[in-house]
Amino acid sequence: MLTNRSKQVVKKEMTIMEKAYLPAIFSGMLITFKHIFMKKATIRYPEQVREFAPVYRGQHVLKLDEAGAERCTACGLCAVACPAEAITMVAEERKKGEENLYREEKYASTYEINMLRCIFCGLCEEACPKEAIFLTDRIVPSTFERDEFIYGKDKLVETIDQKVDVTKRQTPEVLEFKKDKKHKHNRTFLDRVLKPSSKH
């Protein structure tokens, strides 16, 4: 009785109209019939797609930087932030000559997200210090096998010619900050090659 909304059940005799049943059936059928002419609540997915929110949380992407190097440095903060423990990774050291492939000295040689465990909360995206992982407005396709839901780097890393646009997920302040090349965070290996930092 916390809400005072509970109703006492009364067992009273039905009237003749109620006993006849047919009027109630007809009024019910009328409502059903009326809905045939109303606007449908459903759409024909996948031919039709609803409008997505710009911050919709769907399938993840591992971003490349402007020069095409992988941003992820396998710091493990996404995995520690993940409440579903869906993310695992193995780190490796970058070798000489791989600067165009990996931004940092360390990179993820394997990076796996179990899409069956993932609850698409977006905490990995929030935890990432390198702006490497983002959730996108793509829906994870369904399959019949469980192991196909473990997405490795082959499915997660975007390709250089098919980049995933995530600018809508970032605030104008962040986008403005990223233009500032004086921060190391915003410099690619190309910036370092073209304009080498002053030697100490």
Binding site: T73, A74, C75, G76, L77, A79, V80, A91, E92, E93, E104, E105, K106, P129, K130, K182, K184, S197, S198, H200
Partner: protein, 347 residues
């Protein structure tokens, strides 16, 4: 004995004790942080100035204040001294300034660094609200150097605390490790990149407060908060053999010396420091090499405790401490279950 107060807490210490040591006797937040001072190494301290305190009254005989903040690790106590650390806002502000200067040349590469999670500079920066940098110029950059086949030197991250140099001086023989150049250009180096091959050279990794000297056998293997620390020992002919293993499942990823609450290598029962030899540190990476004693005592608020629900030991010890049952840092008997090695792998 000399009586003094630190943040209005009276403490009595023998003559010749430093303010920092006196503050450590009190323990808790009153203790100034120390980046370069290491109580187990002679002549350490006096470089980094993170341990600065304000001395409001020099002594009973001469009650004038010391006009500038003093390095508590190098200043001896005096009778009737009044020291302020956390109760002096200007002292905290000065320390924040010191931290910012320490970070001037320190790269913000914690996501890459193996030390992240147990880094004293990281803790210090967060404690003093300096997670963001105002520095806009080029930091000094060096290529990482291999010192021998087991130790990696990242000179970028070095804060010139000189602890490793003291280790090389005092614990190992045949020193070939030191500081070259001066001032801003100073760097840790070995004699023409000569490998340090001494049985105790690996201890430079343990004393390094930042990620400048790291274990190559653990390099990028995992992050410290994914590994689980357990105390273990073995019969070693060279050292005491008492270590901390950092496990992932059954796999030993890293072996370090045991650290106390100040982040320093612990003492043995006989009072000597429990430095460990390179054999124990680098070569005994199998759980069968060790007799496991039980989970290590790790501060509950440390990231290393994150997700380790079964480390009963730290939680219970912490709770007891909060209830005032035992003084800070003293070992607490936790009954049978907590020390049972079979208990640790329970998920």
């Amino acid at each position: 004995m000399v009586k003094l107060t630190i943040d209005d807490i009276p403490v009595e210490v023998p003559k010749g004790t430093t303010i920092l040591q006196a503050a450590r006797l009190i323990g808790g937040d009153v203790t100034p942080p120390a980046m370069c001072y290491y109580s187990k190494l002679k002549t350490s301290g006096g470089y980094c100035r993170t341990c600065i305190v304000k001395v409001e009254q020099g002594s009973e005989k001469d009650p004038r204040p010391i006009p500038k903040p003093v390095a508590s690790c190098r200043t001896e106590v005096a009778e009737g001294m009044v020291v302020r650390n956390i109760t002096s806002p200007e002292n905290l502000e000065a320390r924040a300034g010191v931290v910012e200067l320490l970070l001037v040349n320190h790269p913000l590469d914690c996501p890459v660094c193996d030390q992240a999670g147990e880094c004293h500079l990281q803790d210090l920066a967060y404690e003093n609200g300096k997670e963001e940098t105002r520095y806009e110029f080029e930091r000094r950059e060096f290529e990482p150097i291999d010192i021998g086949d087991k130790i990696k030197l990242h000179m970028n991250r070095c804060i010139m605390c000189f602890r490793c140099v003291k280790v090389a001086d005092q614990i190992t023989d045949g020193r070939c490790h030191g500081v070259i150049n001066r001032g801003d250009a100073a760097e840790i180096s070995t004699y023409i990149e000569k490998a340090i091959d001494n049985d105790f050279s690996g201890n430079v990794i343990d004393v390094c407060p930042v990620g400048a000297l790291t274990d190559r056998t653990f390099r990028f293997k995992s992050r410290v908060w994914y590994t689980k620390p357990v105390d273990a020992h073995r019969d070693c002919s060279k050292c005491c053999g008492k270590v901390r293993l950092w496990n992932q499942g059954e796999e030993v990823l890293r072996v370090t010396a045991r650290k106390d609450q100040w982040g320093e290598v612990m003492d043995n029962e006989d009072g000597s420091t429990a430095w460990i030899c390179n054999d124990c540190r680098f070569d005994k990476k199998h759980i069968k090499d060790w007799t496991v004693e039980g989970p290590s005592e790790i501060n509950r608020h440390s990231v290393i405790s994150a997700n380790h629900y079964d480390t009963l030991r730290n939680i219970k010890a912490d709770t007891l401490r909060m209830l005032g049952g035992k003084p800070h840092g003293e070992k607490v008997d936790l009954g049978i279950g907590a020390l049972d090695p079979n208990n640790q792998h329970k998920q």
